[in-house]
Subunit: 190 residues, 2 copies
């Protein structure tokens, strides 16, 4: 077990793909033992997800085609951050666009890297309550199917693989711990 973990140095970074959403780089990194290795990484604008809890306790989820996995996946509403957009504002915008709801209460459950081994994508997940329906406003390339699922029923779909999306698993399990007041210290805002 090395204690040199802080001793890595990012020496340089070469852009090898400049896409509309993602950028790809090859980094030169100096290891604690002095050797230099080449490691790939993806830069991503970051994103938000929302667990919208209706008055009856059910969650508003969406089914959506994902070309990266070439299948339709059951997820919580989510979307990418626009440049400079505060995460909570993005969460309110995406909730409104995808489900039609505005939220009286919006509380951050967690922030996390989706896959820090190769990507800097940083995700913010919220629980939204006190919901008012105002009408959806989907982007032109978004085709979603809405599905209302009880929270316990949704959590039961995790071990069976019916729900298999990281942000959704995190949102559902933390919403449960939050609603049971099992974790202190949830932050009210960013």
């Amino acid at each position: 077990m090395s204690s040199d973990v802080d001793d890595h140095e990012l020496i340089s970074s070469e852009k090898v793909f400049d896409g509309r959403i993602i950028k790809v780089f090859i980094d030169d990194v100096r290891l604690p033992d002095g050797r230099i290795v080449k490691w790939e990484k993806v830069k991503h604008p970051g994103a938000v997800g929302i667990v919208p809890v209706l008055e009856d306790g059910s969650i508003v989820m969406v089914r959506q085609y994902r070309n990266a996995t070439d299948e339709v996946i059951l997820e919580i509403p989510a979307g990418k951050l626009s440049p400079g957009e505060p995460p909570e504002e993005c969460a309110r915008r995406e909730l409104r666009e995808e489900t039609g709801f505005s939220a009286g209460e919006m509380i951050k459950l967690a922030e996390f890297y989706n896959s820090p081994g190769y990507s800097d994508e940083y995700f913010h997940v919220y629980i939204a309550r006190d919901l008012t329906y105002e009408g959806t406003d989907l982007e032109p390339d978004e085709f979603l199917e809405e599905e209302k699922v009880g929270l316990s029923e949704a959590i039961g779909k995790i071990p069976t693989g019916e729900i298999r999306d990281a942000k959704t698993i995190i949102g559902l399990t933390l919403a449960r711990l939050y609603l049971e007041r099992a974790i202190p210290d949830f932050k009210k805002s960013d």
Copy 2:
């Protein structure tokens, strides 16, 4: 709300970056309304993570530098699948390499896409118990610092942002629900 969600068609896929770990493609996708859009995606070999629970109930975690985020992150032990490697075998290998432990009991908590909006990375997370220490065996470019943390203490680090890695949040919250027998249907193996 459209009901055409199944009606997407992946028409073609052009490889634009062929890296050591990831490949990047630009897909042509036919939308339900007939329009064709270009969407980026990353192909990744997939990976596993393990929540190793010691006899006293604490979890063996690792601190590790990640060049994608240019910082040291507290995570559960994890690693990429080798070609053709069964996920549970990979989990046992990574657990042994990174922490030195072999597990008498290994149960899958969940499988998930880390970020299906742009990547096909598929993750398998296990809880490992009945641990026996046999010595670490790190790869030459791996420098880790081990840290033992109580499960409740670790979960308390999620809302504060001290733990902010998707697989780790999922592993810890599901380990808690599993140990409390709050979710039925966990599978014993792949």
